[in-house]
Symmetry: C2
Subunit: 145 residues, 2 copies
DNA sequence: ACAATAAAAGATATTTATATCTTTTATTGT
DNA sequence: ACAATAAAAGATATAAATATCTTTTATTGT
């Protein structure tokens, strides 16, 4: 596994995809999302249900229903998705697994980890969910393969 | 889980502990290591067996036996331990889980991830297993609690 | 009202990571 | 040779992450 759990990777890819596909106010269904971000459909459904309950994404049932993002959601920092799915541990926990990460009783790598973690956090807090819509449209960046 | 697997966290903590405890040429047993880095003994044994097979740490059986590190091992970069336990994925894989991480078909976060990953890699490649012995002796850094 | 649609929810299955226990092998000192 | 020691190896066990399948609920258009 990488920096995030697989679950979280799916969540971020899905959220980016929904952002791009529903910029015009339409909705996109779970099947279409799953196919386009290359994720297991039913598993992704669970993930998106959870994000929907938390208000990070929006959804409507029934015909013409699906997932979408309102203006507020599009403006959210990506870190909100990470926190919702994986929790904030990646931003805060000791890189060597000590129960407490503190500059009082630091592990040998505390100083270095703090730096890497802060960079990661700053990066994810300054990226918004909607900011790649255009690049995705242009094919400059991709969400599968 | 954090940036590394739990397995890998145990491995790094253990390796640091062995380095400190055997700087005088002695050996340290699995039980003592486990207690001092707060890890499950038998599980850690498996991990250290693997590191021993790979030549990253040294061990001898029998009375006065245990784990230790030769001069070469003390000088190893910490990245070798990470690579041995978790594989190099953390240094190379796409942060969003795309099968290939490439600047040709990049994910939206490719640029940012590349930076974070490279920093992490540089950091772990420039840290040696033995370099915290003194800080550990002085209690400036710790491996448990 | 009704039928069709699509997400939500519930239940279950599979795989991987983590952990424990037992037996074997190598080494040492007597 | 022998008994004691400690890691290595083997066999299971448990927990968590990942994945699939089925049933229910909300919404829409007719
Ligand atoms: S104590 Fe380990 S990263 Fe802070
Ligand atoms: S393609 Fe995603 S990090 Fe490089």
């Amino acid at each position: 596994m990488g920096i995030f759990s697989k679950t979280c990777e799916y969540a971020v890819r899905a959220v980016f995809f929904i952002a791009q596909r529903t910029a015009d106010g339409s909705r996109v269904g779970i099947k279409e999302i799953a196919v386009n971000i290359d994720s297991p459909e039913h598993f992704l459904a669970k993930i998106l249900q959870d994000l929907s309950r938390r208000g990070i994404i929006q959804s409507v049932k029934g015909p013409n229903g699906g997932f979408y993002l309102d203006a507020q959601s599009l403006a959210r920092p990506l870190s909100d998705v990470i926190e919702a799915v994986d929790g904030g541990g990646i931003f805060r926990d000791c890189g060597l697994g000590l129960k407490e990460c503190s500059s009082k009783n630091p592990c040998p790598l505390h100083h270095d980890f703090l730096d890497v973690r802060n960079r990661l956090q700053n990066m994810l807090e300054s990226i918004t969910i909607g900011q790649f819509n255009e690049d995705l449209n242009l094919g400059i960046v991709v969400l599968k393969k």
